[in-house]
Point group: C2
C-alpha cells in the first residue's frame, strides 16, 4: 500500500491541541444570514420573542452575528474529552481501490454511542438548559442520531428529555428507540395524537410517514406548554452550526499540524449542522480572502432543498408553529419519500449555509439513494467502517471527485465529513443487499405545488 | 470533576509506539497448556493432524509454546492502523459517580464496525488463509461479533466466508446478519440442516436454541469437506490469544508511558480471547516473577466454566468432531440458557487460561445477567458508551472492586477490558428496560449430569 510515513493514518489531536472555543462563521460573513421573523407580524424576532421556546444562552448564541470566538465552558470540554478528539483518517485503502492520485481524508464523527456528530451540540444545549435551571427539554429526531445524542447529554446532566421521532424512522429503527430509552428519555412517534399539531397533521394525512418538520412542530408545542421545558434542535439553527464548528476546528488543526491544505471539502447536508460545522473555519478563511477552497454540499435527490429549492422565507416546521427563516426550501409542507437517510429529510437548509450558497461560496449536488449505497458498501468493505446513509452522500461525492482526479491526473486533497455509522440503518442496507432499494425523486410539478404555498410575509 | 492534568483522559499510542509483534504468554509458562488430543487415539495432535482443519501458519502458532515474540506481518499492521490503537480511557466520570478512591481505566475495543476486539484475530487469520492460497474459511459466531469481524477481514482480502450463527443470536440480532451480508459473507443459523452434525443435533433436540459448541461442529464439517476451505475460530485457541495480545501490549505501553502500574486487571471470559489478550504481557511479568497483579475472569452465572466446571479433557464442540482440549469445562453437551451474552455461552475455556487458573495465577467469578445489565446501564449513562452484554460482566466486576476500595479507602488502579459495544444487543436492553430480563443458573444436578458425560481418553 502506498503510505506516507510522515503523515499518520489517523490524526488524533492531543488534549492541549483541542479547540478552547467555537468559531462563529457569521462574524466573518459580509451578508449575514437573514433574521428569524415572527410569522404574525413579519418583524425580526429578538431575545424576548424567542424565550418561550429556547434556552436563554442559546438564544444569545443564535442572535450573535459578531463574536467570532465563543469559549467552550469547562463542563462541556470535559464531556468532549470522553469521545473527542475524533480522528482525521487518511483513506489510503479507498485511494488504492480507486487508483486515484487524489488524497482523501475523512473526519470520522461516528465513534460515540450516539453514532454521529450530533453529540457535539446536544451536550452544549443540555448544559445551557441545566444552567438555566430547567427540568427538561423536548426535541425531534429523524434518523435517531440526534435523539440518541440528546438523551445521552440529558442523562449526563440529569435533565428530562422528550423525543418526537419521525414515524418512518421510528418503525424502521426499533433499536434506536431502545438506546434512547436506555438513556432514560421518552420517545413518541411523530405525528402523534399527543399534541394539537400532531392531531391536525394526522387529520389531513392519516397515512403520513412523518417528517422532521412535523416532529419539530410537536416538540415545540410540548416545550411551550410544559412549565420548565424548552425546545432544542439538532440542526438548522445558527447555534447548532456554532457548536458543530468543533468538527472543522479539529480538522483544520490536524491538517495544519502536517501542513496540508485541502482543495475540496465535502459534507452531507440535511439541515446543515455537519456541513456547517466542518467547513466553518475554512469558510472563514475564504470569506476573509485568505485562502480558497471548494465546498460541496451533498443532499438526497428525494429532498433537494439547495439544488431544487427556492431561497425565501418559510416556516421551519410543517405545523407552522415556528418562526420564519430565510433559507433554501422546498416548502414546509413538503413530505419527502420515506427514503432511509432520515437525517436528510428536511425541507429547508440552515440560514447561514443558505446565505453562503446564495452568495456563491459553496456548491451543491444531489444523489439518488441507490448510488449512495453503492458508495457506502464500497467504503465499508475497504475502509472497515459501515457508514450511515446520511454520511454516505458525502462518500459518494468524494469518490466521484477522486475519480475525476484520476481522469485529469490531479493530485487534489479531498476532505469529507464521515458524520456517523450505519449500525441502526440495517433495514436500509438489507433493502440494498436484496436489490429492493428504491428512491422517489419529486417531480417539478410537486415541488412547484409545495413551493407555491410558501407563506406571505406580513407588513 | 477530579481530573489529573498529567494523564490524558484517553491515551492513544502514536504509530511508532504500536507493538511490532504479538506476545506469546506460553513461552513464559512453566506448566504449558496441555496439548490437543486426537479423540480416536488419545495422542497429541501435531502439525499434520491439524492440517485438514486449520491454516498451516496458524497451526504453527497454535503449537508454538516457546517463542515469546512473534512479529506481526506488515499487511496485518496496515489493517490494524485502520482502527488501532484503541484508546485506554480513564473512567473519571464513573469514579466520581461511585465516589471511590480507586482509579479505573478501560481499554475500549469497540470502536470498529465489528464492534469488538474480535477483529484483531480475524484479520490475522484471514491473512494467513490468503497467504496459503485458500478460497475461503468457515466459522461460527455467537453474539455475532466474531462473524462480523471475520466477514470484514475476508472482504478486505477477497476471501469467501461462511458463518454459522448460534440460532438464538441469529433470531435476536437480525441486523448482525445484515452487517455480515453487507461484507459479502454467507450466514446460516445453527444448528442447521445443511450439515450432518447439525441434522444430528436437531434430531436429538429439535427446539435447541443452539450454542457455540454446535456451531463450531457445523463450521468444521463444512471446512473439512469443501476443497480450498479451512476452519477459523474466534476464541479458545492459543493462536487467538496470541493475536489478542495486541490488546494487552497496547494497554501496557500506554500505562508505562505514564508510569502507572495496575493492581487489578479484569476481563469477561467466554472462550478467553479478550481476557487472555488483555492480561498477556502483565501475566508474563507475573510468571517471570517481576511484578504481581490480580487477574479476574468474569463469566455469566448461566455458563460458569471456570467457577463451576472441572479441569479435564473435553471436546471443543458439541458435535464431538473437534480435537480434545484440556480445559475448565461444563461438558461439551452443556447448552446454556438463552441469555443474551451470546459471546460467553461456551462450555469450556481456553487451555492457556485454564492452566493459568489451575496454577493459581488468576481468579474467577460469575454474575447473574440482571446485575450485569445494572452495571451496563450505569456505565452507559455516565461514561457515554453503550457496552456489549459480554463486556458488561467486566464492568460489573470493576464497579464492585471500586466499591470495595471505597470501603477500605484503598487507592487501587483497576484496569478492565471494555471489549465491545451493545449496538446489536438492543433486544437484551429492551428486556432489561422493560423489567423482563431473566437468567437461568444451572443446578448442581444439571452440571453433574453434563460433566459426567466427559469423554474417556483412549490409551
Amino acid at each position: 500500500m502506498k503510505y506516507d510515513n510522515n503523515i499518520p493514518y489517523k490524526i488524533y489531536l492531543e488534549e492541549d491541541q483541542m479547540p478552547a472555543g467555537w468559531y462563529n462563521v457569521r462574524a466573518d460573513m459580509k451578508n449575514k444570514p437573514a433574521p428569524l421573523l415572527n410569522p404574525g407580524t413579519g418583524q425580526p424576532m429578538g431575545f424576548e420573542d424567542l424565550r418561550p421556546v429556547f434556552c436563554d444562552e442559546l438564544i444569545r448564541q443564535e442572535l450573535d452575528n459578531d463574536t467570532a470566538f465563543i469559549p467552550i465552558p469547562q463542563e462541556i470540554r470535559e464531556f468532549y474529552r470522553m469521545y473527542r478528539p475524533s480522528p482525521l483518517v487518511r483513506a489510503y485503502c479507498l485511494e488504492e481501490l480507486l487508483n486515484t492520485p487524489a488524497k482523501i481524508d475523512y473526519k470520522f464523527e461516528g465513534n460515540n454511542t450516539s453514532g454521529s456528530h450530533k453529540l457535539n451540540s446536544a451536550i452544549a444545549q443540555a448544559y445551557y438548559a441545566k444552567q438555566q435551571g430547567l427540568r427538561g427539554v423536548t426535541t425531534e429526531t429523524g434518523a435517531g442520531q440526534w435523539g440518541t445524542a440528546l438523551s445521552m447529554a440529558c442523562s449526563y446532566f440529569g435533565l428530562d428529555c422528550k423525543v418526537f421521532m419521525v414515524k418512518c424512522s421510528y418503525e424502521q429503527k426499533p433499536f434506536r428507540r431502545e438506546v434512547i430509552r436506555t438513556y432514560g428519555a421518552s420517545i413518541t412517534p411523530s405525528p402523534s395524537d399527543t399534541t394539537n399539531v400532531g392531531r391536525a397533521i394526522l387529520a389531513r394525512n392519516p397515512n403520513t410517514t412523518g417528517s422532521l418538520g412535523c416532529a419539530i412542530s410537536e416538540a415545540v408545542e410540548v416545550a411551550t406548554t410544559t412549565p420548565g421545558y424548552r425546545y432544542v434542535l439538532g440542526s438548522v439553527l445558527n447555534q447548532v452550526l456554532l457548536h458543530q464548528s468543533i468538527i472543522g476546528l479539529e480538522t483544520k488543526a490536524a491538517l495544519d499540524l502536517y501542513g496540508i491544505t485541502p482543495d475540496i471539502i465535502i459534507g452531507c447536508a440535511g439541515g446543515g449542522s455537519n456541513l456547517g460545522g466542518l467547513i466553518a473555519p475554512f469558510m472563514g478563511e475564504k470569506l476573509r480572502g485568505e485562502k480558497d477552497y471548494r465546498f460541496i454540499a451533498v443532499e438526497p435527490a428525494s429532498c433537494p432543498s439547495l439544488t431544487r429549492g427556492v431561497y425565501a422565507y418559510d416556516f421551519c416546521d410543517t405545523g407552522m408553529v415556528c418562526p420564519l427563516a430565510k433559507m433554501y426550501t422546498l416548502g414546509s409542507g413538503f413530505i419527502p419519500s420515506a427514503n432511509h437517510a432520515g437525517g436528510l429529510r428536511y425541507h429547508g437548509m440552515s440560514s447561514t449555509l443558505s446565505q453562503l450558497y446564495h452568495d456563491g461560496y459553496m456548491e451543491a449536488r444531489s444523489y439518488e439513494q441507490t448510488k449512495v449505497f453503492e458508495a457506502a458498501v464500497q467504503f465499508a468493505r475497504i475502509e472497515g467502517i459501515l457508514p450511515a446513509p446520511e454520511s454516505s452522500h458525502a462518500i459518494r461525492a468524494a469518490i466521484d471527485e477522486a475519480l475525476r482526479c484520476k481522469q485529469t491526473g490531479e493530485e487534489k486533497t479531498i476532505v469529507f465529513g464521515l458524520t456517523g455509522t450505519g449500525y441502526f440503518d440495517l433495514v436500509a442496507y438489507q433493502k440494498y443487499n436484496d436489490g429492493q432499494m428504491t428512491d422517489r425523486i419529486p417531480t417539478d410539478e410537486e415541488l412547484q405545488a409545495s413551493i407555491s404555498r410558501l407563506p406571505k410575509i406580513p407588513g
